[in-house]
Each structure stands twice: as structure tokens, then as C-alpha cells.
């Protein structure tokens, strides 16, 4: 067998988004040797695209805000399907995580008193999102990227080599998580540039690979969002929780076609954007009709949770009241002057002007739902982010499940990355310090290597581009924003069919930076994700958050008690129901009983939370 590149580390972080970088910082500060692996260049991960901000109840703008309020908002947003403990940790720790970034050089927008400014966002009771214009994700990534460099510079001074103890392996795709004797032993992958294979040996692996958007036809996610981490975890024996919940962002660009799916930040609505459509007069009262909700009348209508907005837009479009390209109009020029728009939403202005030739200070944007975020993900222990069932495996960020329940509030993801990224870093470090290392067997390496070689050895097989397109068509039409049992059944069958055909994918050209080859691997992951989503969705006979069943409209408190756990048996995904842990008394008491009645069963209310 040809000799492959080998590395040995204490902790391997797959993913250089917000979660991965935060985890890596923590692990390095615990004095461990850390490898960060990512598919694109360092600093380009999906997190750069986040715009609106990071939610943390610092109370800088409204001092009534605190973690309890944030916790409540998060649970409400997730329709109480969240893992209470994750929501609690998240609400409690986000402010510290934001402040910490400042000590690493982040420059958030300021309040008059010189504190970090916070803005309103859908579903958050108080202005809560720390932000930098509309490029908060970029600030997060860059700050942590530079923090990693700072750590490397310290190492350089101490050990003479900057990359001795923490190194970024950019443009390297992980294809397999390797286990020996039931525990983590390392990962296997290939350099995208050369196609050369690499083995990393380590007792702990942190998955921080982000989302699954590329499974769908219209998405705000980049090519990286192929659910690699979800699939890697499944194959390594971990579980995915609640994969039926996907967030469709209500306001993605729908025109021109080349920018389909790209997100219009929710803060456009937060800053006073008005949704209008062709048929109705351009006045706000008319527009607001879409998401008038009796319970929520106190809040400006543009700030309702995004799933409600998404569904409202969808039904408007289905009712034939949309624009000719299947969207609706979103207008900021009505309430704000051109200068204010350019100052508060600079990159939005830029984006529309340069990508679509639309000047949002003068005209409306054309928007519609786009697949944006996956709530479901790897089942983890809340406190350590350890993946359930696989010693040595951890997961944080979008790839982890449970935190957001059935729907994520805007801004809660960036703070999630920081809070659980750090926790995963701590969890992994503690594990790694105690773990006994088991070398990867040559036979495991050989198997992983053969899998990479396989598509090259086939000729005249399936084309990965067209299979991907077929899959996206199925998910978009049958597992999309509004679902029915019959359609899901069809989807499951057709996904299985594509999976069969995908075993016969062949690629043209060599290994050297070959996107066709790269896609062949991503495709396999997306298929597993789609299967898990469809199979979870068909079981959940209710509509909740990011899962809408046309045949089962409305929430059902019985279903709230259930998580859907996906696991992989080597050939197919199996989904089973698992009871959601009950909310402990002290958290239960944070809510008004009348509110809880909307979500919990009478039995649960009678118990009044677990002790």
C-alpha cells in the first residue's frame, strides 16, 4: 500500500466555522495539540454569512433583559421541543461568550454608553442581538481566526514553531471518522487540492461541520452545507435527533435566478421593512395581515418568529397572490430614508445592487422561502457536547441537535456556536487527557482508502451532478416547507433509489482539485441526511416549528414529549421515538401556566415540572 500522510493530535476539530474555531481555542488553551480541518479556506466557513447578530442577554439596551427571559424566548421559539438544559446553558453563558470575543479584538457596534449595542430580532422580547452592521458572522469568524493566530504566535515564542500545537488543515475533506474498539481513534480524508489521502490519529474528534442546506434546491447555504458531519456521526454510530425540523427562511432572494436562495437578513424586517405584494395596496396594515397573531399583537408584526412568516408567505404565493417569480415583495424604502438604509443595512444594499441590479432604497426586493438552517442534529450530552453513544466523539454548532427544538430564533445560532463550541472544547479536552489512545489498524485505513478510490475505478457510471439535482428536486417538492404523509412516503422510496444508483457514481478527470470527485462524497452524505429527515418527518403527525404537515395541521402536546432519534445500521437509517427529558421545576416556574398550557399536556401541567 502506498504511504499516506499521517498526523497525530490530541483533539481533531472538523469544521472551521464559529463552533469549530471556538472549540479549537478552548482545547488549545487546555494545553492540548489541536488540528482544525475544513473543506474550504480558513475563514470562509458558512458562519461568515450570518448577518443579523448573536443573541445574548447582556441587557445593554434594555436592562430588563436577563438569561431567564432569553431562555423563555428560546423555548417558545422552539415550541418547547428544545432540550431544556441546552437552552438554559445557552441563555446563561452567551453574554460571557460575547464579551470574551471583545477581549480578542472584536469590534461590535456600540451604544451611547460605549457598551455593545443590541438590536431587535424576531422572537426575542428585548433588543438582544450583538451585531456589527450586517456582517456579524464575519466578525465572529475573523475574531476567532485571529485568536487562533494569537495562540499560534504564543506557541511560536514558546516552542519555536507556530504550528507545532495548533494547525489548520484547510481544503481537506474528512470522509470517515475512524473507531477502534468502540472508541474514537481518528479521522480519514483527502486534500481537495491534490486528492492525496491523509490519516489523523487522535482519541477525540469534535464535529462542527454546520448545516445540510445543499440537500435542498433553494437554500441560503453554500456548497459546504452538505451534512457531512451529520452523516459522519451516523456512520460512526452516533444518533441524530429530530431531523424533521428544518428552518425555511421566509425571506430569501427569488429573483434573478442566479441569486435564488440567498438570504435577506431578518433585520431588514427588524429595521422596519414592510412586506407587500402585487395584489394589495402598498400599505402596512394590508401587509401585516399576513402574520397577525392575536397573542402577539404587542410586537411589530415584522418581528414574529420566522416560521410563521415563512408559512404566511408560502400560503400567499400558493393562493396566487405572489409575484411572477413565486415570491412576495419586501420593501424597506417605505419607512426608511436612503441614508439610513445604507448605514444600517450596508451589505444588503450592496448585495441587491450588485447581484440583482435592484436599489433597495428605491424599490422593493422580491423574496420567498429558502432552506436556511437545520435544527436537528447529533444527539449530545448538553454539558459536555459529547455525542451520545460514541466515546471520544463530540459535536457542536449547527450539526448538533436539541438546542433549538423545532425552530431556532434568529441570532441564537451564533451564540450557540460560541457556548457549545467552548463546551465541546472543554469536554473533548477532559476526555482526551484521560483517554488511552488506540492506533488505527491498517485494515481500517485500507477500507477508508478504497472508498475514496472507488469512484475513479468505475467507468460510465452515474454523474454526481445530475444525481444531486435529482435529490434536490425530490427534497424540495416532497420534503420541503409543507409536507404530507403520501409525499414523504414517495420521497423515502425515491431517495433510497438514488442511493442505490449513487453507489455507481463514476468521476472523470484525475484527483487533482476535481469538483466532480468532491461532489461524489458530499452526495453520499446528503442522501443519508435526506433519508433521516424524510423518515423522521413521516412519523411526526403534527405541525410544529420547522415541520409542517398539511395532513396534520396544528401542534399536539403529545408529540412534544417525543424526540425522533435516527441511527444508521450500515445500510439504512432507522428512526425511533424517545422521550424528551422533562423540564425541571425551577425552569418550569419561569413560565406562566397559561402559556405552558399551549404546549404541555394536562398531565405534565399537573406535575408542575420535574424535581
Amino acid at each position: 500500500m502506498t504511504s499516506i500522510e499521517r498526523h497525530e493530535y490530541d483533539v481533531i476539530v472538523i469544521g472551521a466555522g464559529g463552533a469549530g474555531l471556538r472549540a479549537a481555542v478552548e482545547a488549545r488553551e487546555a494545553n492540548l495539540r489541536v488540528a482544525i480541518i475544513c473543506k474550504s479556506l480558513f475563514g470562509k466557513a458558512h458562519t461568515v454569512m450570518a448577518e443579523g447578530g448573536a443573541a445574548a442577554s447582556m441587557g445593554n439596551v434594555n436592562e430588563k433583559d436577563n438569561w431567564q427571559v432569553h431562555f423563555r424566548d428560546t423555548m417558545r421559539g422552539g415550541k418547547f421541543l428544545n432540550h431544556y438544559r441546552m437552552a438554559e446553558l445557552h441563555a446563561k453563558e452567551s453574554p460571557d461568550r460575547i464579551w470574551e470575543l471583545e477581549t480578542w479584538g472584536a469590534l461590535f457596534d456600540r451604544t451611547k454608553e460605549g457598551k455593545i449595542s443590541q438590536r431587535n430580532f424576531g422572537g426575542h422580547e428585548y433588543p438582544r442581538l450583538a451585531h456589527v452592521g450586517d456582517r456579524t458572522g464575519l466578525e465572529l469568524i475573523r475574531t476567532m481566526q485571529q485568536k487562533i493566530v494569537a495562540l499560534q504566535q504564543e506557541d511560536g515564542k514558546k516552542f519555536g514553531s507556530m504550528e507545532a500545537n495548533i494547525k489548520v488543515f484547510a481544503e481537506l475533506t474528512v470522509t470517515e471518522i475512524l473507531k477502534e474498539q468502540g472508541q474514537i481513534a481518528g479521522v480519514y480524508g483527502y486534500w481537495r487540492e491534490s486528492g492525496a489521502e491523509v490519516l489523523f490519529e487522535a482519541p477525540t474528534v469534535i464535529i462542527a461541520t454546520g448545516g445540510v442546506g445543499k440537500t435542498f434546491k433553494i437554500t441560503s447555504n453554500s456548497w459546504e452545507g452538505t451534512g457531512d458531519g451529520h452523516a459522519l456521526a451516523l456512520k460512526a454510530g452516533a444518533n441524530l435527533v429530530d431531523m424533521e425540523f428544518l428552518q425555511f427562511h421566509p425571506t430569501g432572494m427569488v429573483w434573478p435566478p442566479s441569486v435564488r436562495g440567498i438570504l435577506v437578513t431578518e433585520s431588514v424586517r427588524g429595521e422596519g421593512g414592510v412586506l407587500t405584494n402585487d395584489k394589495y395596496a402598498d400599505n402596512e396594515a394590508e401587509a401585516d395581515r399576513w402574520y397577525l397573531d392575536q397573542d402577539n399583537n404587542r410586537r411589530p408584526p415584522e418581528l414574529l418568529p420566522r416560521d410563521e412568516v415563512a408559512r404566511a408567505i408560502n400560503s400567499e404565493v400558493k393562493a396566487g397572490r405572489g409575484t411572477e417569480h413565486g415570491g412576495v415583495f419586501l420593501d424597506v424604502s417605505k419607512r426608511l430614508s436612503a441614508e439610513v438604509i445604507k448605514k444600517r443595512l450596508p451589505s444588503m444594499w450592496h448585495q441587491f445592487f450588485e447581484l440583482a441590479g435592484v436599489d433597495i432604497t428605491k424599490e422593493a426586493m422580491e423574496v420567498g422561502p429558502t432552506c436556511h438552517y437545520v435544527m436537528g442534529g447529533v444527539e449530545v450530552e448538553p454539558d459536555t457536547a459529547a455525542a451520545v453513544g460514541v466515546p471520544g466523539l463530540f459535536a457542536a454548532g449547527e450539526v448538533a441537535g436539541g438546542m433549538h427544538g423545532s425552530n431556532r430564533l434568529g441570532g441564537n445560532s451564533l451564540s450557540d456556536l460560541l457556548v457549545f463550541g467552548r463546551r465541546a472544547g472543554i469536554g473533548a479536552s477532559e476526555y482526551a487527557k484521560k483517554a488511552n489512545r488506540i492506533p488505527v489498524r491498517e485494515s481500517s485505513i485500507k477500507a477508508a482508502s478504497e472508498r475514496i478510490e472507488a469512484p475513479f475505478s468505475r467507468v460510465g457510471g452515474e454523474n454526481s451532478y445530475s444525481l444531486h439535482a435529482e435529490l434536490q428536486e425530490i427534497t424540495h417538492n416532497l420534503v420541503g416547507i409543507v409536507r404530507t404523509g403520501a409525499e414523504l412516503k414517495e420521497a423515502i422510496e425515491r431517495i433510497a433509489e438514488i442511493r442505490k444508483r449513487s453507489a455507481n457514481v463514476s468521476v472523470s478527470g484525475g484527483r487533482h482539485f476535481n469538483p466532480g470527485f468532491h461532489l461524489a462524497f458530499d452526495l453520499d452524505n446528503m442522501l443519508l441526511v435526506a433519508e433521516s429527515t424524510a423518515k423522521s418527518a413521516i412519523l411526526r403527525e403534527e405541525s410544529r416549528g420547522g415541520h409542517t404537515r398539511d395532513d396534520f395541521p396544528g401542534m399536539n402536546s403529545k408529540w412534544r414529549q417525543i424526540n425522533h432519534i435516527s441511527s444508521f445500521d450500515g445500510s439504512k437509517v432507522n428512526v425511533r421515538a424517545q422521550a424528551l427529558p422533562a423540564i425541571p421545576k425551577e425552569l418550569y416556574d419561569l413560565f406562566d401556566v397559561h402559556e405552558l398550557e399551549k404546549y404541555l399536556t394536562a398531565d405534565e401541567i399537573a406535575k408542575g415540572g420535574s424535581k
Binding site: E102, T103, G114, R142
Partner: protein, 253 residues
């Protein structure tokens, strides 16, 4: 309305390569990256190109389009004349890897050479107070998406490979300026090292970096020239130097 577009795409690797002609369909509203993807999906399955966000936010899709360093995802087809042939090549200041993908590791090495932000040791997290007017200058530089187009176009390294050793490039001049203007940064020798370590003096302020920056960061006017002036303060101007010694603080005059 779909139309046929004539393109020349550079294909090759470190040892050899050249421009290849293709005809590809282009639709209304599309950008160069869209048609490259179409070429990839229909004619050249192994055409290498970097991209991520397709929204001008990540700075991955940098290439040269009709000889100009640009983001492919932000270059609209409609900005070219109907009959024009669009030529795309990889960045020409960096080693080519394959097709439109270049080795930009130079930039990551340079990033590691700029000393990190140094937070005041007596300020705990959450205690920092900074006014908006004080952070705004640095915030402009933090808009940088690291597309490295400025680095690519800068003649100091584009035309003189040997200068890569001693020249950090405009991307890192704005980084240095960002830190030197940061209201809380405690490292005080950034001006000196900008000149001695990072090659600020090599820049002849010809502004190509500012011309190509997709974030419209005013690199030369707001970072390089102010840094050059700050360097004069500490290195070349005896009066400013004297002032700073007498009053024991920077920026007194």
C-alpha cells in the same frame, strides 16, 4: 432570455496550461460564477474553481476577469457587451494549483506575522467601553472578506516575486492600521514594525488595491497613508518625535 456566451477559460496546472474557448448558455441576471458552474456541470466536470457564499461575502471566488481581479460571484454578465468574449484566468500574483484555483497560502503566512490584538490586562470581559466614533475606523477594515484581490493586484508582489519575503501587502496594512487605531490595543510598536517588518515603505500608494476591493474599503486613503503618516511621526519627523517624548504619549501634536 438565454443567450450564448463566448468565454475563454484558463485551464492547466503549475507546469502548463492555457486559455480554452467555450460557448456556454447565459441567462438574464446571471453572474460569471453561474456560467462557470454551468460549464463545470455540462462540459468540464473537473474544472476547478473556488466559491462558497455566492453573495460576495466570503471572498473565495477571486479570479481575473478580462484581466481585472474580481469576485466571480459579483460580476454580472450584463456588465459586458453582447458580443464580448469573457476571459477568465486564475489570480496572476500567486502560484496556480489548477485551472482557476491558486495557492493563496502567502496571505495566511503574512497573517501570522502580524502581532495579534493585545487587550488591556486590567480590563475583564464585559468591562470594555468604547464609543462608536472610536471603533468606526477599525470597523471599516474589519469588513475585509479576505478575497486577496488587493494582494493580487498589488504590483509590489505581483510583478516582483522576490518582494514577497518582505512585504505584507495591503490586506495586512489594513490589519495593522485596524490595530493601531483600535481604542484599546496595548501594543505600541505597530507603527515602527509596519515599516521595518511589514514593508509599508514598499507601497508607492498607486491605489490599485483600493480600486479592486469588493468591500470598497478605502485601503490607501484610510489605512496605508494614515499609517505612512504615523510612521513619519515616529521615525522621520524630529519634531513629532520630540513632542511625543516631551508629552509622553502618542498623538499629541
Amino acid at each position: 432570455m438565454a443567450r450564448n456566451l463566448n468565454m475563454r477559460i484558463w485551464r492547466g496546472n503549475a507546469t502548463d496550461g492555457g486559455l480554452e474557448n467555450v460557448v456556454v448558455e447565459a441567462n438574464e441576471g446571471e453572474v460569471v460564477l453561474d456560467v462557470i458552474h454551468r460549464v463545470q456541470a455540462t462540459q468540464m466536470g473537473d474544472l476547478a474553481v473556488r466559491w462558497n457564499c455566492k453573495a460576495g461575502k466570503c471572498g473565495s471566488c477571486s479570479m481575473e476577469i478580462n484581466g481585472r481581479p474580481r469576485l466571480a460571484c459579483m460580476t454580472q454578465i450584463s456588465s459586458f457587451a453582447e458580443e464580448e468574449t469573457i476571459t477568465v484566468t486564475p489570480l496572476r500574483a500567486f502560484p496556480v494549483i489548477k485551472d482557476l484555483v491558486t495557492d493563496v497560502s502567502f496571505n495566511y503566512r503574512k497573517a501570522m506575522e502580524v502581532p495579534a490584538y493585545a487587550h488591556p490586562t486590567n480590563l475583564a470581559p464585559g468591562e470594555a467601553r468604547m464609543e462608536q466614533v472610536d471603533v468606526e475606523r477599525s470597523q471599516e477594515f474589519r469588513k475585509c472578506i479576505e478575497c486577496f484581490l488587493c494582494q493580487d493586484t498589488c504590483h509590489v508582489i505581483r510583478d516582483h516575486e522576490e518582494n514577497k519575503k518582505s512585504f505584507a501587502g495591503p490586506r495586512f496594512f489594513i490589519r495593522i492600521a485596524e490595530l493601531d487605531m483600535h481604542p484599546l490595543d496595548t501594543l505600541r510598536n505597530r507603527k515602527q514594525t509596519a515599516q521595518t517588518e511589514h514593508g509599508l515603505g514598499m507601497c508607492n500608494i498607486t491605489k490599485c488595491c483600493s480600486e479592486v476591493c469588493p468591500e470598497h474599503i478605502r485601503i490607501t486613503d484610510n489605512a496605508i497613508i494614515p499609517m505612512k503618516e504615523r510612521v513619519v511621526d515616529v521615525k522621520y519627523d524630529p519634531l513629532a518625535w520630540l513632542g511625543s517624548k516631551i508629552f509622553k504619549r502618542e498623538g499629541i501634536v
